[in-house]
C-alpha cells in the first residue's frame, strides 16, 4: 500500500489570455497516488479536476500549457516526455475511462474488434489468446453472453453496457493506474449504482489504482479510499474518505455536504451563496473567502497554505480548520417547505396517452394516430392549486413526454387535459388561445440552450411581457427590473449576454422569463441537473420562495430522487410511460412501495460511506413497453407469474393515501421491503 505510483509535484497549468496575462487553471498541486488505492477528485465545474486527471497521463489540453511542476510516474516526468514514449505508457500503464462511452467508442466497429485493437496495442498476446482474453474481459465487466456482445455495434448497447465496454477496453492493457473522468454522470440512477459496484469489484480484484473524477460526492463516497477536494484550481482538502465525508474540516466541503439534498430528510438544503471565482480573477487572499461562513479579516489578504495534520492524516487549506474540527459533524438543517395547498383542482390529466409512432398515409389523411401500444398510456393525475408534483423515473420513462404534452408541444393520442375544472386544453398548440399558452410556462434543463445566445437578459425577459401583456418602454423596463430582483439578480444583468453568466445565473434568468408570463403552472424539466450542487440548492430554494410568493403550481420532472424529496408535495413514479405509484412524497419514500420505486430508492447514492446502494433489480434497458400486463414485469424481482404478464395491475391504496399499482397485496409488499 505504501508504494507511490504517481507523484504530482507543484503542478501549475494555465493559459495566456489575449492581454498576455498568465491565467492559472491548476495552482501548485502536489499529491501522491499510492498503489492499489482509489482516489476521488471532487469539485465543481471549472475547479480544474479534469485538467489534473489528464495531466496524470501526461496530457495537457490544447491551448493550455504546463507552467511549472511535474507529474512523475515510474520516476519519469510525464509532462516532459516525448509522444513516442508516452504511447508506451498510455493504455499499458495508465488507462483512461471517459465520461461518455457512447462517444468514445467508434460507431462503425464491432465491440469485439475494438477491444481486440486495444489488446493488440497494449499487450503481447497472440491472436488466439486475444480472442480468449476478449471474452474474459467482457465477463469481468459482467456483460451478459460475451460472445454475442462482442459481435454487436456500440449503438446496439445501452449506456451502462457501453460504459462497461469502456472499462473492459481500459483493462485490456492491465494498467497500474486507471483514470476515470465522470464515468457514471450520464447514466441512470440504477445503472450508475451497478457500474460503481463493478468498479469497486475491479479495484479489489486487480489491485489497480484508480483516480475517480466526479462532481458527485455520492458517487465518490461509494468508491474512494481517499478524497481530494478541489476549488478554483487548488487542493483545499485531502484526506481519508470517511473523515472528509463525516467530519469535513474545510468550510467549502462543509458547505457542499450541507447543500446536497438527502433522501432521509424532507425539505430544502441550505445553499452556499455566490459562485466559484473565474480563473484569472483571483485576488489576494483565500479563494473561498467570498462564500465562506467562517471567514475572518486575515482570510481576505492572506491566502492559507495547505497544512498537513498528522493526527487526521489530512491536508487542509484553511486558517480556521481547528474551530471546524470541534463541531464539524454535518448537521444538516433544512428549510421545511411550506405547502400552500388549496383544494381547488388546477389541472386534471385523465386517460392521457401519447404515441411516437409514425403515421401511415391513411392515418395522415384521417388525421388520427393509431398505435395500440403507445409510449405513454393511462396517465391520470389531478393537480391541486399551489402543489408541487414531481414526475420521477429513469430515462425513457416518458416523464418529459408528458410535460411536452401538457405544454402543447406534443399531440396526445387520447385523453383530456383540463385546466381549472372547466377548460379543456386542446392537444395542438395552434388551437390553444394565447391565454391557454400564458398559464403554462416551461423551464428547461440546460440554460445554455434555453436562452438565445444573441439576446441580452433584458431582451430575453421582455419577450413574454411583450407577447402577453403588450408592455412597452419604461413600463417594460420596470417589470424586467422587478423580475430580476425576484430571482436575486442585480439590474446590471440586463445588458449581459447569456455567455457572460454562470450556469446558476442563466437558470435564474430562465426562471424570471417563466414567471414574467404570470403563469398558473410552471413545468420544470430537470431544472437543476445541469447545475453544480451548491448552485442547485440555491435554485431550488429560489423556486420554492417564488412559489410561496405567487402561489404557482409546479410540475417537476427529475431523475434525482433526493432533489424530488426536497421540493415536492406529491410524487408520481413512472416506468415505461405508465404510472407505478402516486402519492404524497413522504409516503412514496416510505414502504410499502411499488417494486420499481424500491429499485430507484435503493440505487440513490448518498454522500455517506456507510450507506451503500441496494441493488435490487438488474439494470437492463427495455426499449418498448410490454404489450400487456404490468409495465415493470421485465425487471421486477418479485414477479408473481402469469398474472403480471397478462393483466394490468390494479391500483391499491395505502392508509396514508398512497396509490400503488401492483398485483402483490400491500401487506406482502411491505413484508420484504422492511427487511
Amino acid at each position: 500500500m505504501t508504494e507511490i505510483i504517481q507523484k504530482v509535484k507543484n503542478l501549475s497549468i494555465g493559459f495566456k489570455s489575449k492581454k498576455g496575462e498568465e491565467i492559472l487553471i491548476l495552482r501548485n498541486i502536489s499529491t501522491n497516488i499510492k498503489k492499489g488505492e482509489t482516489v476521488g477528485i471532487v469539485g465543481e465545474s471549472g475547479s480544474g479536476k479534469s485538467t489534473l486527471a489528464l495531466a496524470m497521463m501526461g496530457y495537457v489540453k490544447h491551448g493550455l500549457y504546463t507552467i511549472g511542476g511535474e507529474c512523475e510516474f515510474n520516476s519519469s516526468n510525464l509532462l516532459k516526455m516525448k509522444n513516442r514514449d508516452l504511447e508506451k505508457i498510455r493504455g499499458r500503464k495508465i488507462a483512461m475511462i471517459p465520461q461518455n462511452a457512447g462517444q468514445a467508442l467508434t460507431p462503425n466497429l464491432k465491440i469485439g474488434y475494438q477491444i481486440d485493437e486495444a489488446l493488440k496495442l497494449h499487450s503481447d498476446l497472440k491472436e488466439e489468446e486475444r480472442e480468449q482474453k476478449i471474452s474474459e474481459l467482457l465477463n469481468k465487466v459482467r456483460l451478459p453472453s460475451p460472445e454475442t456482445i462482442a459481435l454487436r455495434y456500440p449503438h446496439e448497447l445501452s449506456g451502462g453496457q457501453q460504459q462497461r465496454v469502456a472499462v473492459a477496453m481500459a483493462l485490456a492493457g492491465t494498467p497500474d493506474l486507471l483514470l476515470l473522468d465522470e464515468p457514471t454522470t450520464g447514466l441512470d440512477v440504477t445503472t450508475q449504482a451497478h457500474v460503481l459496484e463493478l468498479l469497486n469489484f475491479i479495484a479489489k480484484d486487480t489491485g489497480t489504482s484508480m483516480v475517480y473524477v466526479s462532481h458527485d460526492l455520492g458517487a465518490i463516497a461509494q468508491v474512494s479510499d481517499r478524497i481530494i477536494v478541489m476549488y478554483s484550481g487548488e487542493i483545499v482538502l485531502e484526506g481519508p474518505s470517511r473523515d472528509i465525508l463525516k467530519k469535513p474540516i474545510h468550510p467549502y466541503t462543509y458547505g457542499l455536504l450541507k447543500s446536497i439534498p438527502k433522501l432521509s430528510l424532507a425539505g430544502l438544503p441550505q445553499s452556499m451563496p455566490g459562485s466559484q471565482p473565474q480563473p484569472g480573477t483571483m485576488q489576494r487572499g483565500c479563494s473561498f473567502f467570498d462564500r465562506c461562513d467562517f471567514s475572518e479579516e486575515k482570510c481576505k489578504s492572506n491566502s492559507p497554505q495547505l497544512e498537513y495534520l498528522e493526527e487526521l492524516n489530512t491536508s487542509v487549506r484553511c486558517f480556521n480548520h481547528k474551530s471546524l474540527m470541534n463541531d464539524s459533524q454535518v448537521n444538516q438543517t433544512v428549510n421545511k417547505i411550506k405547502t400552500s395547498l388549496q383544494d381547488k383542482e388546477i389541472l386534471n390529466i385523465s386517460e392521457v396517452s401519447i404515441s411516437y409512432a409514425k403515421q401511415n398515409l391513411l392515418d395522415q389523411v384521417l388525421n388520427r394516430i393509431s398505435d395500440d401500444n403507445p409510449t405513454v398510456k393511462d396517465i391520470n393525475i389531478n393537480i391541486k392549486k399551489g402543489e408541487t408534483i414531481a414526475l420521477v423515473g429513469e430515462s425513457g420513462s416518458g416523464k418529459s413526454t408528458i410535460l411536452k404534452s401538457i405544454a402543447g408541444l406534443l399531440r396526445t393520442k387520447g385523453g383530456v387535459i383540463k385546466f381549472d375544472q372547466k377548460r379543456n386544453l386542446p392537444s395542438d398548440l395552434k388551437e390553444r388561445d394565447p391565454n391557454d399558452l400564458r398559464i403554462i410556462q416551461l423551464i428547461f434543463q440546460n440554460p445554455d440552450e434555453s436562452l438565445n445566445p444573441n439576446h441580452t437578459v433584458e431582451e430575453i425577459i421582455a419577450q413574454p411581457l411583450k407577447l402577453y401583456f403588450g408592455l412597452k418602454g419604461e413600463e417594460l423596463k420596470k417589470n424586467i427590473k422587478e423580475l430580476l430582483q425576484k430571482v436575486r439578480l442585480g439590474e446590471f444583468y440586463m445588458s449581459r449576454y447569456p455567455r457572460q453568466l454562470s450556469g446558476g445565473e442563466k437558470q435564474r434568468v430562465a426562471v424570471a422569463r417563466a414567471f414574467a408570463a404570470k403563469p398558473d403552472i410552471i413545468l420544470c424539466d430537470e431544472v437543476t441537473s445541469a447545475l453544480d450542487v451548491s448552485v442547485q440548492a440555491a435554485v431550488l430554494n429560489l423556486l420554492q420562495q417564488l412559489k410561496e410568493d405567487f402561489g404557482t403550481t409546479y410540475i417537476f420532472v427529475s431523475h434525482d430522487l433526493a432533489v424530488v424529496r426536497a421540493i415536492s408535495d406529491r410524487v408520481a413514479v413512472l416506468y415505461q410511460g405508465r404510472l407505478c405509484e402516486v402519492g404524497p412524497s413522504k409516503d412514496v419514500y416510505q414502504f410499502p412501495s411499488h417494486p420499481y420505486t424500491e429499485v430507484l430508492l435503493g440505487a440513490v447514492l448518498e454522500p455517506d460511506p456507510d450507506i451503500k446502494p441496494k441493488l435490487v433489480a438488474e439494470d437492463i434497458v427495455e426499449e418498448k413497453p410490454p404489450q400487456k400486463g404490468c409495465s415493470f414485469q421485465g425487471r421486477c424481482s418479485r414477479i408473481l407469474g402469469d398474472i403480471c404478464k397478462n393483466e394490468i395491475p390494479p391500483w391499491q391504496i395505502t392508509n396514508s393515501g398512497n396509490s400503488i399499482r401492483c398485483h402483490i397485496p400491500l401487506k406482502e409488499l411491505q413484508k420484504d421491503q422492511i427487511n
Binding site: S17, Q278, G280, T281, L409, L437, S450, P453, N454, R496
Partner: protein
C-alpha cells in the same frame, strides 16, 4: 459584485460590432489583402468615370493595337480604344449587377431556407425537391434562355442571376436553421405561442445571420465569374460599354501579338474575385465560422 471580471463585456452598438469585425478581418494578412483589393475596386468603380484619361468609346483606326506606352499605359485594342480607360471602367457594370444580384440571392435564398427549416414536414419536402430540380439545371443554359427571351437589360440580369445563385443559399440557410431549431429557446418561444414570423425574425435570424452572410459573400464572387462568362459569350453587357468579360472575349484572338489587350481585363477580373474570396474567408474567420467544414453546394 465582480464587475471588473475579464469575462464581462457590455452590450455593444451595432456600429462598434461591425468595426470590431472589420478590424479583426484586417489583422490577418489574407484578410488585409482581400479587403484592400475589394475596397480598391469599389473606390475605382465610383471614381473611374472622372479619372479616365480617354473616352472609352472613341475609336481611332490609326491607333490600332498599340503596345503599352507612356501615353497609352495598357496599350490600345483592335479599334484603337485605350485599354487602360476601358479596364478601369470595365468593372463597374459587373460589380453593380452582381452586388445587387447577390443581395437578391441572399434575401430569397436565406428567407426560404429559414422558412423551410422551421416549418419542416411536407412543405419543406416539396420546396426542397423543387430547389434540387433547379440545382440540376445547368445555370448557364437557363440564363442564356432567359436572356435571349427577355433581353440583356439590368432589370433582367439582376433578378435572373439573383434567382440562380440563391438556390444554393436555400440549402445553407436551411441547414443552419436546423442547427438552432432543436435548441430549447426555440421550443420555449413556440410554447409561449409566438408566431412563425416572430420566431424567424427574433429567434432564428440572429443565430443564422452570420453563416448566411458568409455564404452570400462567397456567392458574390461566383456570380461575378458567372456574369463575366455571360458577357464573354455575348449575353451580358452590350458593346460598346466596357466590360471585362466582353473585353476578354473580343481580344482573345489577338492574344498572340497583342497580349496587353487581354491581360489587363483578366487581371482586373481575377483580382476582384480573389479579393472577394479572401474577404469572405476573413469575414467567416472573424465571426468564428469555419468554412472548411461546410461543403460548397
Amino acid at each position: 459584485m465582480k464587475l471588473d471580471n475579464i469575462y464581462q463585456e457590455e452590450k455593444k452598438s451595432n456600429f462598434t460590432k461591425v468595426s470590431e469585425i472589420i478590424i479583426t478581418m484586417a489583422s490577418r494578412p489574407s484578410g488585409f489583402i482581400g479587403l484592400s483589393i475589394l475596397i480598391f475596386h469599389v473606390i475605382l468603380a465610383f471614381i473611374s468615370p472622372y479619372i479616365a484619361p480617354y473616352d472609352f468609346k472613341a475609336i481611332n483606326p490609326t491607333l490600332m493595337l498599340q503596345a503599352p506606352s507612356a501615353e497609352y499605359w495598357f496599350g490600345t485594342d483592335d479599334l484603337g480604344r485605350d485599354v487602360f480607360t476601358r479596364t478601369i471602367l470595365g468593372g463597374r457594370t459587373a460589380l453593380t449587377i452582381t452586388f445587387f444580384g447577390s443581395l437578391i440571392a441572399l434575401l430569397w435564398g436565406g428567407l426560404l431556407g429559414i422558412f423551410c427549416g422551421l416549418v419542416g414536414g411536407k412543405t419543406d419536402d416539396i420546396v426542397m425537391r423543387i430547389v434540387d430540380a433547379f440545382l440540376s439545371i445547368p445555370w448557364i443554359l437557363a440564363m442564356l434562355l432567359i436572356v435571349s427571351l427577355l433581353g440583356t437589360s439590368t432589370e433582367v440580369l439582376i433578378p435572373a442571376l439573383g434567382f440562380f445563385y440563391g438556390k444554393g443559399i436555400v440549402r445553407v440557410a436551411r441547414a443552419a436553421t436546423h442547427d438552432v431549431i432543436a435548441k430549447d429557446f426555440i421550443v420555449s418561444a413556440r410554447a409561449r405561442g409566438h408566431s412563425n414570423f416572430s420566431i424567424i425574425w427574433y429567434e432564428i435570424i440572429p443565430n443564422v445571420r452570420d453563416a448566411i452572410l458568409v455564404e452570400g459573400a462567397m456567392r458574390w464572387s461566383w456570380m461575378l465569374l458567372g456574369f463575366s462568362s455571360l458577357s464573354f459569350l455575348g449575353f451580358g453587357v452590350s458593346p460598346p460599354t466596357p466590360d471585362w468579360g466582353l473585353m476578354i472575349s473580343n481580344a482573345r484572338g489577338l492574344m498572340s501579338f497583342a497580349y496587353w489587350s487581354v491581360i489587363a481585363p483578366i487581371v482586373g477580373l481575377s483580382s476582384l474575385i480573389i479579393g472577394i474570396n479572401l474577404t469572405a474567408d476573413a469575414f467567416a474567420k472573424a465571426l468564428g465560422i469555419d468554412r472548411s467544414t461546410k461543403a460548397p453546394v
